[in-house]
Subunit: 336 residues, 2 copies
């Protein structure tokens, strides 16, 4: 973009809302009052509960000023949708708070709004409010999503039971490998692999349909989305459920790209896969008897679901490879 | 605070949430799941609707790094509560997204959390989630409030009718005068006046009880809170309601401090009072027959309410003084 292109300062706050954000609101989804009053007024059906989640992305921390605004908009919304997915909630509404330097170009906001519009339609979630403010330093984006679940049916972190099998959607580790490649810390000779992994980092795929299906079919005892890394998030489930877990490294689903890197990269790559974040895959635990039903659901929603371990009594999260336990030391995950 | 005091970096994200923010969540107010899962799960009663509003405060734009964190926390929550008040909504839940430099001292967060705790109890609103992230530049605070109203009863900006009287709570202009004094653009010789006006800017008083009462008693056709300034906010009501308005400057309620400044400061002070923002007073319109009922409610909730003008047909917002119309030019509000 040319530095002389018009900036959002020329639109003003109300102009920016009118031109770019108000069009993302519609009269669907039980919206009594949308953008333009002191608050939104929203109808939750009597047999349902509200599910709310929020995430903030900060320039220089979560993204760089050179990042593509169209992709950034999608990621900002999707990391939140992933939280709704992990609870089995139906996406309904979202709020956008965006603090932008006045020098931000209109073309940037055009692309940002285009990303939101596309994903709003794709995931059937409607903008109902927010706040646009100026920032003297970097860009800060907060998105708050609101969804609904049938009363008492939200899938929590706290329901895992000893004996449950542990399931994971999609493939693990792509996002962290894509990020370290982008940052220049990891070399990837295969260009297609590099592009695939980068895209997995830049535009994650929230598992909304899978989350809805495992709630509807009463599959899961507990669920979480992998945002902090497999081990950290599995520990969250275990501590909330007062259980332990055993994960079999050899069962963890990997993309072709990650598999190729693991073959040559060894321990550091394995560590990244186990502990890197931002995969936004769903991890859930369910009775072993559910295996066939899960396979059929996975087939229906078009996402792979793999059994990677088992919930145990106690409180330890064990990582096993070829039957023996790995431990994490300063050099990464290694055999005892 | 001493630069060597411990910083929030020593707590980490999860530590910070556990030590400072999780204690602000409680099991009141229909919270099925609070802090600690992928999202909060909240119960809205079947006969009610959800009201949601959100505001972002950015360092160097809305506040300075030297501002008192206890007061800043209160202001961050109160500007949002004011939006709920303007819709007549009952405060229930809030989310806090805070992006802080890692060098932020724990003492700062202690004071910030203390402010939130006090006001959470005062206004009966409970923290149910949020996001704590690092920031490489300034501090950015987003608060999202959720309240409830009986279905179809939210007071909107769009309901003003020609012939309605216009009412204003409290006193106007104190916040903007306090701010310009703080910034060094305005001299105030009376120290008590200076302190009063500064406090009105730093810790606004959201008119939650008044908003609830005018909804319950079916008083108002429309309402808004004064955040952008009297004239701008009255124009919002007029444009949403397709009406005009006439405001009588001589009727506008002023504090003693503002009155004294107006006596000596003239046109510039009047302009500030009419157009300065952040008063967080309620402006509402109601049938003239409601005057006595309004006086009785004002008395009951303990806040002054003053009739300042009338809603007209057409679309113009006129400002009158001694019966003749003022106009705004580059020098401020003056007689034609």
């Amino acid at each position: 973009m040319d530095k002389k292109d018009p900036t959002i300062a020329s639109l003003g706050e109300f102009g920016l809302i009118q031109s770019h954000f108000a069009p993302l609101c519609s009269n669907k989804k039980g919206i009594t009052v949308g953008i333009g009053d002191d608050g939104a007024v929203l109808a939750v059906q009597p047999n349902q509960e509200l599910v709310v989640s929020t995430d903030t992305l900060v320039e220089h921390i979560h993204f760089s000023s050179n990042d593509n605004p169209y992709q950034l908009a999608k990621k900002s919304l999707r990391v939140n949708l992933s939280d709704l997915a992990a609870m089995g909630a139906n996406p309904n509404w979202y709020l956008l708070n965006i603090a932008t330097p006045p020098s931000t170009q209109i073309e940037w906001i055009n692309e940002f709004a285009r990303g939101l519009k596309e994903d709003g339609e794709r995931y059937s979630i409607v903008l109902t409010g927010g706040d646009t403010t100026s920032s003297k330093s970097g860009l800060v984006i907060t998105i708050t999503v609101m969804g609904t679940v049938d009363k008492g049916r939200a899938i929590l972190r706290s329901g895992a039971k000893p004996g449950d099998k542990i399931f994971l959607s999609g493939t693990l580790g792509d996002s962290t490998l894509g990020l370290t490649y982008r940052l220049g810390y990891l070399k990837i000779s295969n260009h297609l692999d590099a592009e695939f992994l980068q895209n997995r980092h830049l535009i994650p795929e929230p598992r909304v349909s899978l989350g809805l299906a495992i709630l509807t079919e009463k599959i899961a005892h507990s669920a979480i989305d992998i945002s902090d890394g497999l081990i950290a998030d599995l520990k969250h489930v275990c501590s909330e459920s007062n259980v332990g877990a055993e994960v079999d490294v050899d069962k963890i689903p990997l993309s072709g790209a990650a598999t190729r890197l693991l073959e040559t990269g060894g321990k550091e790559i394995l560590t990244q896969i186990l502990t890197g974040g931002e995969d936004y895959e769903l991890l859930f635990t369910a009775d072993a008897a559910m295996v066939d039903k899960i396979a059929s659901i996975a087939d229906k929603v078009g996402v792979g679901v793999t059994e990677i371990g088992v919930v145990s009594s106690g409180s330890e999260v064990k990582v096993l490879q070829n039957g023996s336990q790995l431990k994490l030391d300063s050099g990464g995950w290694t055999h005892f």
